[in-house]
Subunit: 661 residues, 2 copies
């Protein structure tokens, strides 16, 4: 164990294990998580070569091997709780998506949700037993976010009682679905249904792509991998071009909408149910943001106490890099953010489950707010984390660029969350739509409840009374509830600003749609402020649940840092709205520096509490024992380029050059 | 040619070719650049497989092949101007570093600058003819920025008149030098010189690493590749561990410092000359920032006019994505930044050459300011560009993640500039040191000249008089000179704030060093504001050189957008310093939106003016002809995973699974 890191752990003022319980949601969860991790880590069937040393094809091959093992073992051990399956999977493929993700996470659930009993009989068991391996093919090469724009067609032929699937244009080629390229032999294909000469909109069809035995593509099916990407090297994201591919009528998923044998189309009763799935996935992404940021902070902070560099005082030994104020300023606000997002993730998951109960009882009242919140928070947390991972990486000096640090991998595997499951700007605008709608309702005299209740007219007047006032809202910059109030009023101000921009545009005789587009910058800004308020609020509320004094103290410091640092980053908003004065802003900058000092002795303990096993972190720089350099050297020596002392290119190109010059 | 992109080009209000001349530095430069590019692009010896389809070893192999060809052809064509060599090289290896970079860019220049005539006789011609292939080995596994911390030793043995080189610890292993792993047979090694029982500090030694014929490492030399990284896959960044490696006395570079045969050490006369090289390299990096950001904007903006998505007005066809205000808001400020950085790069290069003339005549007076400026601007431009590339990538939706977009490659090849040649935070603090020193000089009554003259006391009083004043400095938000003034006073305020923080710390009886470290956040902020001021100033000044009315108009719009957008991003600073009022700030937000609309019709023409040949851009999304989707499909089909219809993993793992479940 590196002596520096031992000393850091001795300095901690709180019980690390207890914080882990808080982060995991209770000691039982921590215990079970570790049991499952141990099961995987000690299993030689999951040994692997560092994927960074492999070619794309070898990476895919290794991942398929491990995924196949994973399926066998999960069933062998009888692990059935979804959360436990997730732990198992994320131990087998730490931080990496894998080739069966879509089969398990989309194909099977789609069957469960949208198949009729007859269809379940036909497809479910073969899929459960991985004879059928499926994916979910929605996006096309020219179409992403906008579902109505999808071009793939499924035309019903009553003569044969079949649907005929086609990719009529280049832009209609299915593109991106994971596991579509090589792994799957079936796909749920989203296509525009045509029957009896009419287009009935988007529906889901089960299409067999490959021969069950030979795995060769079937006639009319052109399928393959979309090529190398930024990350996701283990997954064969694929393309699919269909030329008159015929499937039986039963292959349209008909739990809701139906096409009868004669081609008569029956509409689905309601579209609200699909809403819930999106909310669920976006809530999960908030949790993933927390994990990716927590991993990055763990690596950067541990390495920053092991790494000595330059000098603060002339002649003295090189200090730990974490003693530099600039390093603390890079990392501690992110550490606070990782805690904040963990608690937001917990809240989202609890709220989702609570509301799901309501929905099952027919009460959809809270769904719009949760939908809007999950969209905005998905964007807010992924953007913040995306940038934060890179700050962590660059805080590690040169070694942050080495694949051995794990930080490049964390980044490339995480960054797609900003785009998939709802592009972030689109997400922010969805939240904004809810905010502006609520604002107008309040303005029209309706009393709002829930998170947006701050838009109620009475509350808003409070702000409007004194723009750029000398009587600020915040009276005590150390009082979290004052700060929550301040974030709330900032959000209210910005929602109002956006709503007024739309109004102004309308007064200039622009259409509703142009008014919206011409206010989009303000709308995104309002959503961002709303989400920021929610995060500050939830972090502050979490503190009240914590009984242990030492833990309460350190988490309060983190929460205060999160709130105050956020204010310094958006000081213009707070000043413009008259929520803070110029002298207070200077006080806050000073306070942020003090909080960095306060956190310094607990930094390593706070990342230890995230409880990432070395095998899951997979980072030479972030090792628990701090023995960085010897292991970096050992890792490098395994690099494929070192398989021979002399690379063949010397004899092929460099040596012959001598005689030519 | 895609019809959308044709229409865009028809909308342009100015002559694109003329803007290219401005960006290149004159029509002759553009002409010569294109001649050299054509030479490379039409040369079948430089044909290549997309590196993204190759393994690391294959990428390295391909790069060595092309580099060897490149050397032959540059000499064959008699290209000798450094700028032209750079064009040639960057056409052969577009956007990628290559295995001979260090030999050409560091090893040969080091010989030229630091070798005695006798050493030139011995080493130069073999190096010129690539018998000797060298690199420059400075950083160690545990040591980067802080040169005094390097641990490698070179101990003089007068008995044999040799130096004995050692890597005494794990942390002393040489780490990161490009081409050290596999390519080089020699290295300039930086080591602590020990002679006559004393350590005489860091000196440079030529060490032979590998056998001239077999290329096998010599006894005592352990050398290899440091393993895969985030980018730089063509380069064998390496490690070197030396165990009593003996080299003759003549292998210490002795143009300045000397060790005599008996071991007597003679100090070098001055250290100022190495200063100049750093300034030069950092100036180059400013130019590289401009290029990388310009490439990213070209790709994102061209794709944004070809790509149609969602709807603004219900029922109408999907609009071009560039018609969304949010998309313009992401891309146009970056486009303006790419222009700004191009002009800053031109200024840095001109200033460097001007001052080099002065230096050669013994006048070092301007060097400290240029040194401080180049450090800060290196950090400012690379940080901005680093984040900007990712904004461009994410503005392309899912396809931005595909390696075919080129954006992931642009990012990973660029991001190391934030760390190498001076870590950015360290750079900002270097600039801050100059600013605080200048501030104190002004305070002590000295009259400052040059860029920092705004710190003269009289100017500063102007600001101090009215903090949070209602009489702002900016009277016309459309007047660039008003805005330059405002940026200047913001910088002055923040330098003063940082200087006062140090003072306060000193009054609290902290040491000079601790006072500095405890003010580091403020110091970085001050440097950042200083650099921002310089960029706004240089961009504004550039406008006065432009005679063509149409071009002057569009570049003025860009300059205005750059300045106003920067104000909105740092509104807190401008409000706190009383440089702008709250109503002005709202006016500016509105004006930014108007400028986005104004630029919209010229967006494609403005990126066309960067004049990147498709082969150099190497991006399916950024193609000049806009034919994105068919080429994306074609590219994907070449993916190695598509070499066979069925991947072997199906037969190895997936099919056997069926019988086990």
């Amino acid at each position: 164990m590196n002596p520096d890191i031992i000393k850091e752990r001795q300095n901690a003022s709180f019980d690390v294990e207890k914080v882990t319980y808080i982060l995991d949601g209770g000691p039982e969860k921590t215990k079970r998580k570790r049991e499952i991790e141990t099961l995987v880590i000690n299993d030689p069937d999951f040994d692997e070569v560092d994927p960074n040393f492999l070619s794309r094809s070898e990476r895919y091959d290794q991942a398929v091997r491990k995924s196949a093992q994973m399926i066998l073992k999960i069933r062998e051990y009888g692990i059935s709780d979804p959360e436990e399956i997730y732990f198992y999977k994320s131990s087998v493929h730490p931080g990496r998506p894998e080739p069966l993700d879509l089969h398990l996470g989309m194909f099977l659930p789609t069957l469960l949700n949208q198949a009729t009993p007859e269809q379940m009989d036909k497809f479910f068991m073969p899929a459960w037993n991985l004879e059928i391996i499926g994916t979910y093919a929605q996006t096309e090469i020219g179409h992403g976010t906008h579902l109505r724009g999808l071009e793939t067609t499924a035309t019903y032929d009553p003569a044969t009682q079949e649907f005929v699937l086609n990719s009529p244009t280049v832009t209609s080629i299915k593109w991106w679905p994971g596991a579509l390229g090589k792994t799957s032999n079936h796909a749920v294909v989203l296509a525009q249904l045509h029957t009896q000469g009419k287009c009935c909109g988007l529906h889901a069809f089960i299409v067999q792509l490959r021969h069950m035995d030979t795995h060769e593509p079937l006639p009319g099916v052109m399928v393959g991998d979309i090529g190398p990407k930024f990350g996701f090297s283990e997954v064969d994201n694929g393309f699919l071009k269909m030329d008159n591919v015929r499937i039986p009528r039963i292959n349209m998923l008909m739990k809701y909408a139906k096409v009868e044998p004669d081609g008569t189309y029956l509409k689905p009763p309601s579209a609200k149910l699909t809403y819930g799935t999106m909310v669920f996935i976006r809530s999960l992404i908030v949790g993933q943001s927390a994990i990716s940021l927590a991993k990055s902070c763990t690596i950067a902070i541990r390495y920053s106490v092991v790494r000595h560099q330059s000098e603060i005082r002339a002649g003295e030994p090189e200090p730990q890099i974490l003693d530099y104020q600039t390093q603390q300023y890079k990392l501690f606000p992110l550490l606070a953010t990782a805690y904040a997002f963990t608690f937001v993730g917990q809240y989202m998951s609890q709220t989702y489950h609570r509301i799901t109960g309501d929905i099952n009882q027919g009460d959809f009242s809270e769904l719009p707010e949760l939908h809007a919140l999950s969209a905005g928070l998905k964007a807010f947390t992924t953007w913040t984390t995306n940038a934060g991972i890179e700050v962590c990486r660059m805080s590690c000096g040169g070694h942050g660029y080495s694949r051995s640090s794990a930080l490049p991998d964390i980044y490339v595997e995480f960054t797609p969350t900003c785009t998939y499951e709802g592009e972030n700007t689109v997400m922010m605008l969805q939240t904004a739509r809810h905010l502006v709608k609520s604002y107008r309702q309040a303005k029209a005299g309706q009393q709002l409840s829930g998170i947006v209740s701050y838009l109620n007219d009475t509350e808003r007047h409070h702000v409007q009374a004194n723009p750029a006032s000398s009587r600020p809202i915040v009276v005590d910059i150390n009082d979290p509830s004052n700060l929550v109030e301040s974030y709330k009023l900032r959000a209210a101000t910005l929602v109002e600003l956006a709503a007024k921009s739309i109004q102004r545009e309308l007064q200039m005789r622009n259409s509703q749609e142009d008014a919206w587009n011409n206010s989009a910058i303000d709308l995104v800004r309002a959503s961002d402020a709303h989400c920021h308020y929610v995060v500050v609020k939830l972090f502050t509320e979490k503190l009240s649940e914590i009984g242990d004094t030492a833990i309460h103290s350190v988490l309060s410091t983190l929460a205060l840092l999160y709130a105050l640092h956020g204010i310094t980053q958006h000081s213009g908003d707070f000043l413009q709205a008259g929520l803070l004065t110029v002298p207070q802003m200077q006080q806050i900058s000073g306070r942020v520096k003090e909080l960095l000092c306060t956190l310094r002795p607990n930094a390593v303990a706070l990342v230890d509490a995230f409880d990432f096993h070395d095998k899951k972190l997979n980072s030479v720089l972030g090792r628990y024992d701090g023995n960085v350099y010897e292991n970096l050297f050992e890792w490098a020596r395994k690099s494929p380029l070192n398989a021979t002392e002399v690379h063949e290119s010397f004899h092929k190109y460099l040596k012959p050059l001598r005689s030519k010059l």
